[in-house]
Amino acid sequence: MTREEIIAEINAELAEEFEIDEATITPDAPIYQTLELDSLSLVDLIGIVQTKYGVLISKAELPTIKTFAQLYDYIEQHQK
């Protein structure tokens, strides 16, 4: 998938799953605050990325993903 396709798909998926306005998902927006993630719902973000792209975000790398742009980067680099 191209980066554009990934962005369009994951943004729509996250907006639906976390019940937020898709317009609030911008490349520089902070993921945790925008999706209102806590220690449990973070698992849902990881699950969506794994189910959609076969990409399992490792525990060690999780702290490096703070913005949506960084999430897109991660998926793009690791997608199978």
Partner: protein, 406 residues
């Protein structure tokens, strides 16, 4: 019971109404909540009959991250409990400053468990189950969710006793209050109403197959009954000690006079007469109640051939033949299973407070063994001040509650 135990709030989400007023009117009018489900037929059900329970939209009340822990039955439990707390005049401030408990009946988590395990197997990853799955797939999901959402700091317990779960939860709560261990307990029962919860139940051919006449399919005690109709939803009653209710100026609706229970110690699905009869007997004895004081019996009768016979015989054994009026509200609602013991306390209380007994719809004539009791086929305007409600379940678990007017 040492302390008097009173009902100060009720809430209901069922196939015959989603408010106390709607349910009262439906009971009076003999409305059936049963429909034919093409979805179930297409999926391979032998009987596609089901209670038409509206889905609950909790988006206005519960944020996504907390709703994520709630399967269908917890949503029914939440909306019924919200109604009951409003009805009881118990607000957030009160819950934050008093020790209120919860005992709630539930005995299946099929859809939530299936969905999370499907995701797990499809993705070969446990993460795919999602963060809510562990909470959704535990049988205590209703009490764990409601205790957190309503900030409850008293007893927190799920009663799993098959189709007597709702009744046992009320009995246990009443016992704790009567002994002075709790002042106020939220109790009730809820039942998932999706097809996965009861697919295997359909498989043992326990359901009515009168699919061409859905509203006539549930016909407890009638000679031509051919099985139960599954339903679901949620029902909550707020119990308090009399002193506690008076102190906070609550509107006292009715009083729990007594609880009786028993086990059949017999077959897993076929009931006997002796077990239910002992539950009735213990309930009468515990409350010091003469059978003549009971103005109405809300039977467990689910519309199965054997079960209705055995209950009729147990009632006749304790009350004499064709004496006290008996009806089964399952004729209108179908079998609400884990919820039924609680919803039927609400149905009966609504009748008692509004001066009528809802007719056992679809009852045309008894068979040889159900002829021993006085089944009312049509709604009757009448005054009564005390009723008895039966709930029996698989494994031979029996529960009986007596409630009186206040």
């Amino acid at each position: 019971m040492a302390n008097r135990v009173v009902i100060t709030g009720m809430g209901i989400w069922s196939c015959i109404g989603t408010s106390l007023d709607e349910v009262r009117d439906a009971l009076y009018q003999g409305k059936s909540g049963i429909i034919f489900s093409q979805e179930r037929k297409d999926a391979g059900f032998r009987s596609a009959l089901v209670g038409n329970v509206p889905k609950v939209d909790l988006k206005p009340y519960v944020p996504r991250n907390l709703r994520n822990f709630m399967p269908e039955e917890a949503m029914y439990g939440y909306i019924a409990t919200k109604q009951a707390l409003d009805n009881a005049g118990i607000d957030e401030d009160y819950l934050n400053t008093h020790e209120v408990g919860i005992i709630y009946g539930n005995d299946s988590v099929a859809e939530a468990t299936m969905q999370s395990l499907d995701k797990f197997r499809q993705a070969n990853s446990t993460v795919a189950c999602g963060s809510g799955a562990i909470f959704q797939s535990m049988n205590s999901n209703i009490t764990m969710n409601l205790a957190c959402l309503f900030k409850l700091r008293g007893i927190n317990l799920t009663a799993s006793a098959a189709c007597a779960s709702g009744s046992q939860s009320i009995g246990l709560a009443a016992l704790l209050i009567s002994q002075g261990l709790q002042d106020c307990v939220i109790c009730g029962g809820a039942e998932e109403n999706n097809m996965y919860g009861i697919a295997s139940f359909d498989g043992i051919q326990a359901f009515s197959i009168r699919e061409d006449e859905p509203e006539k399919a549930s016909r407890p005690f009638d000679a031509s009954r051919d099985g139960l109709v599954p339903s679901g939803g949620g029902a909550t009653v707020i119990l308090e000690s009399y002193e506690h209710a008076v102190k906070r100026g609550a509107n006292i609706i009715a009083e729990i006079v007594s609880w009786g229970f028993s086990g059949n110690g017999d077959h897993i699905s076929t009931p006997n007469v002796a077990g239910p009869a002992r539950s009735l007997e213990l309930c009468l004895r515990n409350g010091g109640i003469d059978p003549k004081q009971i103005g109405y019996i809300n039977a467990h009768a689910t519309s199965t051939v054997i079960g209705d016979r055995r209950e009729a015989q147990a009632i006749a054994q304790l009350f004499g033949e064709r004496t006290v009026p008996v009806t089964s509200t399952k004729s209108q609602t179908g079998h609400e299973m884990w919820m039924a013991g609680a919803s039927e306390i609400i149905y009966s209380t609504l009748m008692m407070k509004n001066g009528f007994i809802a007719g056992n719809i679809n009852f045309e004539k008894p068979d040889e063994e159900t002829a021993c009791i006085n089944v009312l086929p049509e709604t009757k305007e009448t005054h009564f001040d005390m009723f008895l409600s039966n709930s029996f379940g698989f494994g031979g678990t029996n529960s009986t509650i007596i409630v009186k007017n206040v």
